[in-house]
Every structure is written in structure tokens, then in C-alpha cells.
Symmetry: C3
């Protein structure tokens, strides 16, 4: 098990972590690696590394769970990140990916990403287990 930190801007910030994951994998082994983000307003998924597509994703999620809405969660702690929680729960905090000789077995355009949905900058811890 290994960890690394990622600085994020929040507001559905999509960050390609494929290379960082691969740098931790044993070069001469094969298996699966579980990628997990600790924190209830971030998620792990896969997407093509296209900033235009990241904008499309933000537009879709803004319709499903808009940031500027009077979420009931905001009454609990005076928080402003109800949308971030909802988005993170729909995506889920983990993905498990096969690797061979230290390389993730991804499709040509497929990247593993950390998505930070929170409403401000954060430092996120990603836990990589293989």
C-alpha cells in the first residue's frame, strides 16, 4: 500500500493520476491495483484526458446536482458543499484496475482520474493498493 497527495482546485476538478499510479507499481509484476480517495467530496473514475470533455462533465453534473442550491446538508454544519457530496457518492471512491509489468491496462484514451467536487482548494490523499 502506498499513498500520494494531489493539490486540487475543487469545483469538479478532474486530475489525471494514471502516471503517478504507474510510478508506484512494481515493474516486473502483474495484478490489480485499487485506487481509493479518502474524503467524502472526491471520487475516482476513468475518462479521456480532454479539457473540453471535463467541461461537458461539469455541465451535466451542474444539472443533476447544482452547486448553488439550498441543500438540506447546508443546515447541518453551515457548509456550502452539498452538491460536492452528492456527486462524490454517485461516482464512488474506488476503482480497481489490472496492470501488467508495471503498466495499467487502460484503453488508448482512458485515464484514471481523481475528481475533486468540493468548493475550494484541497490536498487529497490517494491510496494505491496492489
Amino acid at each position: 500500500m502506498k499513498t500520494f497527495s494531489v493539490s486540487t482546485k475543487g469545483h469538479t476538478d478532474v486530475i489525471d493520476i494514471s502516471t503517478r499510479i504507474e510510478s508506484l507499481l512494481p515493474k516486473s509484476k502483474s495484478g490489480v491495483v485499487t485506487v481509493f480517495v479518502s474524503g467524502s467530496t472526491a471520487a475516482i473514475s476513468a475518462i479521456e484526458a480532454d479539457p473540453n470533455l471535463y467541461e461537458d462533465l461539469k455541465d451535466v453534473l451542474e444539472k443533476i446536482a447544482p452547486y448553488k442550491k439550498d441543500w438540506k446538508h447546508h443546515k447541518t454544519w453551515g457548509d456550502d458543499n452539498g452538491a460536492a457530496h452528492i456527486r462524490a457518492t454517485i461516482f464512488g471512491p474506488s476503482e480497481t484496475i489490472p496492470f501488467e509489468n508495471g503498466k495499467l491496462l487502460l484503453g488508448q484514451w482512458q485515464k484514471i482520474v481523481l475528481i475533486d467536487f468540493d468548493t475550494g482548494p484541497r490536498t487529497r490523499e490517494v491510496i494505491v493498493s496492489f
Copy 2:
């Protein structure tokens, strides 16, 4: 591999199972644990344990896949739980979480939850593998 049962009320019932998972983990080992729910109208995810946030989640899902809709699935078996199936499929039935010395490596507010989307009370089986 170990299992435990959870009594649920359905209708997007969110149940924190973090403590029950941890009670099954070996106290002196580290690794990853896969949490899986059998059944096609329930899911596993992570969320802050806030009942207000659970209500927000229900509101969002009610817009995406409302319970009171004439789903085509209802014609197949005379069921009334089309929305429950759709919601469960979007969330997925598994998450894999790292643990250390018997403790899940979750964020401060992050809990692992079983969500039962079905339209009545059920007993759910959760399968914990490590």
C-alpha cells in the same frame, strides 16, 4: 470472505455499515476489503453520515429516476421497482477500500454505506472479502 445481514426500509434507505465491516477485519493486518451487496436494487458507496444529506440524495435521484413513473420494467413482471433498478445500476454493487490494522482508511467524514433503493423493507446480504 464473511457476510452479514442488514434490515432495510427501502426507498433509498442509506445505512452506514463502516463499523460492521471493520468488526470483521483482522486487527493486525493491512490490505484492501471488497464490499459487495447481492441483489439488483441495492448498492455500495461512500457518503458523510448526515440524515439531511441523505434527503438531498433522495431528492436528486427522484429527479433522475422517479419512483412513481410508468417504467417499462413494470410490464415485465408486474413490479413497481423500476426506479430502484436504475439507481442501483448507476451506483454499482461494489467498492474496494484499503485498511490498516483492522481500520478502514476513510476520510474524517467518509462512511461506507449500503443504499437500498427497493420499494419495500428487505433483508440484504453484504459480502466482505479481504
Copy 3:
């Protein structure tokens, strides 16, 4: 680690791969199997094998991320599959499922499916790790 190929039609084509996964599992062992699809416009999830329900799922996703929309991603490469990318990212590329004596521990109606969201027929590679 084993792989198999699946011919898909795209447009949110749902294909039950439970039997193909089980055919690769060791008959006398138990554990977990990770099912992963390589490619950024497909996903793995679970659903009841009901064609009516597949239509319901398509209807819901068409509202969330419609195929015929002027996605920003289309400007990047001249592609037409922005909706497919968004859908795949929301679902995620992996699920991990427990098995016993070569049988997946699924619910009575629960099947593991490959969903191909792309806009034309494809051959998909599914990677099965246990």
C-alpha cells in the same frame, strides 16, 4: 488475469457477461474477481437481465447526457460521442465481485454487464482478474 472480447452495437448496449466471467473462474476456489473494461466509452455494472429495463436505463441516460447534443468534446477531435464518455465516467470501468467454487455470488436477478455507450459497433476487451 484473463481476457475475452465482446462484440457490441454501442448506443448504451447492455450485455450480460456473467456466464463468460464464471467460465474463467477456478471451479474449486473462492475469492474476488475484478472485471474491468478497457476503453473510455464503456463501463461495467450490475443489472437485472430485462430488455425492458435496458430501455428504461437508456431513457434515463438520454435525459442526463443526450447523444444528440453539441458537446464541447466534439470540437476536440470532431467526434460524435461526448454523451458516451460522460455516461462511462459516471458508471466507472470496474466492479469487484466475490465468488465461491467458481460461481459469482450474485443476487437472484443480478447480472454483471458490460455497457457500451459509444456511437457505433465495437469489439471490447474485458479483463478478468482473480
